[in-house]
């Protein structure tokens, strides 16, 4: 496998040909924020938090979808990028009802942590205040659309890893939401295997276990992440 050298934040770093800037950065201890990406899932480029500046490109590029190549000059934390990321997280917080104090994921939520990390201590936009349904029809899991950021991790893991494709996105734009089957209640889905992969990967409180099973859930999640890691390896070799 050929190795390329590029410059990131003024540092010369090496990366494998074909790997993403996001991975290359991570391997060198440079954390680029993201809410939609997970190694092992098809990159989406939807949350736009991982945008980086690449010399020669007229606009920032998503690190999850940009391949490392020889001689790239990349900046991951310019003032402009920091401000864009802040605004993106603020837009997400204003879009749906992310009231952390009454959320099942309070304290373990990726959106909450991202807001703190990016210095979002208040939201400059008006909150939208639109109540969305909550689907508690599944015997073990709950889907609360009010907490969803449409990162589509659930859609991707269900399709590519579990092979069930229970989830997809319906409608569009600001009205988009995830949907199971033909918008049947989740509990009545004919395609769902009940594997819970979507729940493990949900960054927020949108998908949750109705009953907390503590250690068991942690073990399951760790094992799923190992599967994804192997998948990422296979994808990369294939690239």
């Amino acid at each position: 496998m050929s190795v390329v050298t590029l410059t990131m934040n003024g540092r010369l770093i090496s990366a494998r040909q074909g790997e993403s800037l996001l991975q290359a950065a991570r391997e060198h201890g440079i954390e680029i924020p993201t809410l939609c990406h997970l190694d092992g899932l098809e990159p989406l480029g939807g949350c736009r938090l991982c945008l980086v500046e690449v010399r020669g490109s007229p606009r920032p590029l998503p690190a999850c979808l940009t391949q490392a190549s020889e001689g790239l000059v990349v900046e991951t934390d310019t003032a402009a990028l920091v401000e864009y990321r802040r605004m993106i997280v603020e837009l997400l917080l204003a879009e749906r009802a992310h009231t952390c104090s009454v959320c099942v994921r309070n304290g373990r939520c990726e959106l909450q942590a991202m807001a703190a990390r990016l210095g979002v201590d208040h939201v400059r936009f008006e909150y939208r205040y639109r109540l969305l349904p909550l689907d508690a029809s599944h015997e073990r899991f709950t889907l609360d659309h009010n907490r969803c950021i449409l990162c589509r991790r659930c859609v991707r893991v269900c399709d590519a890893v579990e092979g069930a494709h229970t989830w997809d996105v319906c409608f569009r734009g600001i009205n988009g939401r995830v949907v199971s089957d033909l918008d049947r209640p989740w509990g009545e889905s004919t395609s769902c295997t009940g594997c819970g992969k979507c729940v493990h990967l949900c960054p927020t409180g949108a998908l949750s276990r109705t009953v907390d099973v503590g250690d068991e859930a942690a073990r399951e999640r760790a094992s799923l992440l190992r599967i994804l890691e192997r998948r990422a390896g296979i994808r990369e070799e294939g690239a």
């Binding site: 399709d159 069930a164 494709h165 229970t166 989830w167 997809d168 996105v169 319906c170 409608f171 569009r172 949907v179 199971s180 089957d181 033909l182 918008d183 004919t190 395609s191």
Partner: protein
């Protein structure tokens, strides 16, 4: 079993033949989903869950994928068409000339929200961004007939009159949609 039950009521429907034929014509290729949905909606007037389930099964597409496509495009509707349909234009010119007031008056009088069906499902009230009839602003299209330079009171009266008559959709001599 479940899927069988859902598709069963449709298999005897002659309209379903049109859809099945459309799917055969494209050798059940999943990439022809949008064409198939066009045919299905033309045949049935709307896309019911049963219809979508059947299309998903035949084309081999996950149901959520079919639902995602059917709801993405404006042309497809998942609701049965109501007896009367009233579309108020809110394009730039109509907006300025009071299209919004027409809509508000109709919403208030008939207890139906824009984009929804009311009056026991007999009236659909919609808006359009521009019907291309700006010289007639504000424009209302009631059951495919265009009414230009409409007032809130006039629109309420016309819709009210339409609702009084329990029209037989097929029997009514309807003129073609003008403009648009």
């Amino acid at each position: 079993m479940q899927e069988h039950r859902e598709t069963a009521p449709l298999t005897g429907d002659p309209k379903m033949l049109l859809v099945d034929r459309a799917m055969q014509r494209v050798q059940c290729r999943p990439d022809a989903l949008i064409e198939v949905l066009h045919t299905a909606q033309e045949a049935f007037g709307y896309l019911s869950r049963e219809l979508l389930a059947h299309v998903a099964a035949v084309l081999g597409i996950p149901e959520s994928g079919v639902y995602g496509v059917a709801t993405f495009y404006h042309f497809f509707t998942l609701q049965p068409p109501s007896e009367h349909s009233c579309v108020v234009c809110i394009g730039t010119v109509c907006h300025v000339k009071g299209g919004g007031e027409l809509k508000d008056a109709l919403e208030k009088r008939f207890g139906v929200r824009e984009g929804d069906t009311g009056c026991d499902g007999r009236l659909y009230l919609g808006t359009a961004r521009c019907l291309g009839m700006c010289s007639l602003a504000p424009v209302m299209v009631l059951d495919d007939l265009v009414y230009g330079r409409e007032s809130p009171a006039g629109s309420v009266e016309k819709v009210g009159r339409a609702l009084e008559v329990r029209s037989d959709r097929n029997g009514a001599g309807r003129t073609g949609r003008s403009g648009g």
